[in-house]
């Protein structure tokens, strides 16, 4: 037959040139590929598990909606007494211990005066739990009061959103101009040796733990700003915002710098050849050409500030107020999770609401990141290939 001749005779047949199957190769490739999918898996798992824990809110909404409406109507009468304790309740929040009860059984309460008050609240909450009056509904989530630990708990997210937006705005007002101008300096004007100092220094700032920045804001910046502006509350949105700017500056700087240096040399050379000076080229050619990158940098900076927990916990005062005054205390979404999660009862409505806040934060930062990524990729590539004016 033909077969034996072909196998022994022709070395370079199609068969013999085929890659030989090796088990170790096969396994290595499959395992490595499998592990590489881990990051995607983690993202999916994060979304699934964080969202899963917040689901009971929506599940209970339909069933109990009518009943809860009634209960809440009735409890409007009790509302006044609540308002009276509000001020105390809120202040107590900032100082409230969030540390988990220790294994050694030693209980830590930060502020003794707030202690008895806390106990009262706890007892009342226990009482009310039986009546099911603390179920959060979608409607009550849009309320203007965040009072999770009171006799009539309310989970209005509005003050938390307002607080987070306010602090993000303050932080970006400081961080964005400073970081972008510094990046322009580093990319366009600074001599080589100076650039080699500025860039690593800002990389080091990125490595500062946020708890250290928070501590610095709490101990040093808060007093410093109080001396300058002379407001009452030491800790407020302004102090928190400036501290968060410190956390956002490295991100904005690095990405803007990359975008600026990625602008093709031909652009700047053409501009210089036409007689523009160096600063005119930087301001009117390089900077506009890098706009998509700068936009992405700002988006990622916003994402960082939005989700920053430790600085918010330490430097903002943590009272859930709805006001536009930058010198008043605020409570951000992330700080709320950080401060309250350690104390809630698992499976409780409060627990579910905190996970809901987590899901919202996750969705928000995820969209910001996706927007930054795709917008920049699309725009930058098009622009530098000359397909766009």
């Amino acid at each position: 037959m033909k077969e034996p001749i072909e196998k022994t005779g022709f070395v370079f047949s199609r068969e013999s040139l085929k890659k030989r199957f090796r088990l170790s190769e096969f396994l290595a490739e499959k395992i490595i590929t499998g592990v590489a999918f881990l990051s995607i898996t983690i993202i999916v798992l994060i979304f699934f598990f964080v969202f899963k824990e917040s689901l009971p809110i929506f599940a209970s909404t339909k069933k109990d909606a009518a009943k809860i409406e009634n209960v809440q109507q009735q409890e409007q009468y009790g509302g006044d007494t609540n308002v009276a304790t509000n001020a105390l309740g809120q202040e107590q929040y900032g100082l409230e211990p969030s540390g988990p009860v220790n294994a050694s059984g030693q209980e830590q309460y930060g502020v003794i005066e707030a202690d008895s008050l806390m106990m009262d609240h706890q007892v009342m909450v226990e009482d009310n739990r039986d009546h099911g009056s603390e179920k959060a509904t979608v409607k009550s989530l849009l309320g203007k009061k965040w009072l999770p630990v009171s006799d009539n708990p309310r989970y209005g997210l509005i003050p938390l959103f307002v607080g987070t937006l306010k602090i993000t705005l303050i932080a970006m007002l400081f961080a964005a101009p400073i970081a972008i101008l510094a990046a322009l300096f580093s990319a366009a004007f600074a001599p080589y040796w100076l650039r080699e100092i500025i860039k690593p220094a800002i990389e080091l700032l990125a490595g500062f733990p946020s708890v250290v920045i928070g501590f610095f804001a709490l101990m040093v910046m808060a007093s410093f700003f109080q001396d300058i502006f002379g407001y009452d509350g030491r800790l407020n949105a302004f102090v928190g915002g400036v501290a968060m700017a410190l956390a956002a500056i490295p991100i904005i700087f690095t990405i803007t710098e990359d975008a600026l240096t990625a602008v093709p040399r031909t652009y700047t050379e053409a501009s210089l050849a036409l007689g523009a000076s160096r600063w005119q080229t930087a301001l009117f050619v390089t900077l506009p050409a890098a706009t998509p990158g700068i936009f992405a940098a700002i988006l990622l900076g916003i994402g960082r500030v939005f989700g920053e927990t430790m600085i918010a916990l330490m430097a903002t005062g943590n009272a859930a107020l709805t006001s536009v005054n930058p010198f008043e205390s605020v409570r951000t979404l992330a700080a709320t999770i950080g401060a309250e999660m350690a104390e809630v009862v698992f499976g409780d409505t409060h627990y579910n609401v905190l996970f809901l806040i987590g899901s919202l934060l996750f969705i928000f930062t995820f969209s910001l990141n996706a927007l930054a990524e795709f917008y920049v990729k699309g725009k930058l590539v098009k622009r530098f290939q000359g397909k766009q004016s």
Binding site: A28, I31, V35, A36, S39, I42, L45, I46, F49, E53, L95, G99, P100, N102, A103, S104, Q108, G110, A179, L181, A182, L184, F185, S186, F189, A190, I198, P200, A201, I202, E203, G207, F208, P209, S210, V211, V212, G214, F215, F216, M219, V220, L246, S277, R278, Q280, L300, F306, G307, M310, M314, M341, F355, G358, L361, F362, T365, L368, N369, E373
Partner: protein, 299 residues
């Protein structure tokens, strides 16, 4: 006209320079203030002694021990997975395939997820799902793993630091010259042998940078461990993976915001912050130096 232009230009360049100097100045002020406040209390005893008098005196040894243990377990979990993902992205995946792009997107997303979300995930997944599941299956419902402990905290931190490792290792692998790989393949080595013998040893410094950066990040983050394992005060050091632990960053946070007498322990707080700052600072500086050397070599 020209003169006016020159003045505007000078002002503009001055403004950009001022911004850069401002950032550097703030970094220096922060370092100086923290070190100034902490150096009085800082001593060898401070590093090696247990806290006394409800944190008002004594040292921070348990917090240092807990932090070191945390980053150790975290690195064991994060570095292999991060390095393997980087190998896949550089050696196996086609550059613009959908799979490679989605993995890259996932890694970048992971890097931008707020750290508090990792804490929530650690609580919902590791403690409530995996931990409670393990208790039900192996211990018959006895509570051991279904509560905050150092293992779950380390794993949570590992997820957070995974992108750091991936990015550094990837950069290092790309710096391994193509010719070395081709020579290895031409001598008859298979792809996996080439990766094992040429690519990974060649990118050792990158793996080291990645590990250092991950450790520095993990040592400084507090939000992910707030409710996955950190404790305010423990009389004994953690001895098993199911124990809670003390942590430098968490220690600072609690002392600064919830201590009964903030002013009295102020010097200890500054000293603790100084220790954490210097630790992360040194690690980052080492990473920056190694990386800049690597980049110079790649050029």
């Amino acid at each position: 006209m020209r003169r006016q232009n020159a003045i505007t230009g000078g002002l503009f360049i001055g403004l950009t320079a001022f911004s850069a100097i401002l950032i550097i100045a703030v970094i220096i002020i922060l370092l100086v203030v923290i070190i100034n406040g902490g150096k009085g209390t800082f001593s060898w005893e401070f590093l090696t002694a247990f806290p006394e008098d409800g944190m008002m005196k004594g040292g921070i040894f348990p917090a240092i021990y807990g932090t070191v243990l945390l980053v150790l377990i975290m690195s064991i979990a994060a570095v292999p997975f991060g390095a393997i993902t980087a190998v896949y992205l550089t050696e196996y995946a086609r550059e613009n395939s959908i799979i490679a792009q989605s993995i890259r997107f996932a890694v970048r997303t992971l890097a931008t997820v707020p750290s508090i979300i990792f804490g929530l995930f650690g609580l919902g997944f590791f403690i409530k799902f995996v931990g409670t599941g393990m208790d039900d299956v192996f211990l018959g419902g006895q509570l051991k793993w279904g509560q905050p402990n150092i293992l779950w905290a380390s794993f949570t931190m590992a997820l957070l630091t995974l992108p750091v490792v991936i990015v550094s290792v990837e950069e290092a692998i790309r710096a391994v010259p193509r010719e070395l790989r081709e020579a290895s393949l031409a001598l008859g080595a298979t792809k996996w042998e080439t990766i094992k013998r040429i690519v990974i040893p060649g990118s050792r410094s990158g793996i080291m940078t990645g590990t250092i950066l991950a450790v520095s990040r993990g040592a400084g983050e507090v939000a992910p461990i707030l409710f996955t394992g950190a404790a305010y005060y423990l009389a004994t050091l953690p001895t098993s993976l199911s124990d809670q632990f003390m942590n430098l960053g968490y220690h600072i946070y609690i002392m600064a915001t919830q201590s009964a007498n903030v002013d009295e322990s102020l010097s200890i707080q500054f000293a603790t912050t100084m220790v954490l700052l210097l630790l992360t600072f040194t690690l980052n500086l080492a990473a920056v130096i190694i990386r800049s050397r690597l980049r110079r070599k790649a050029r």
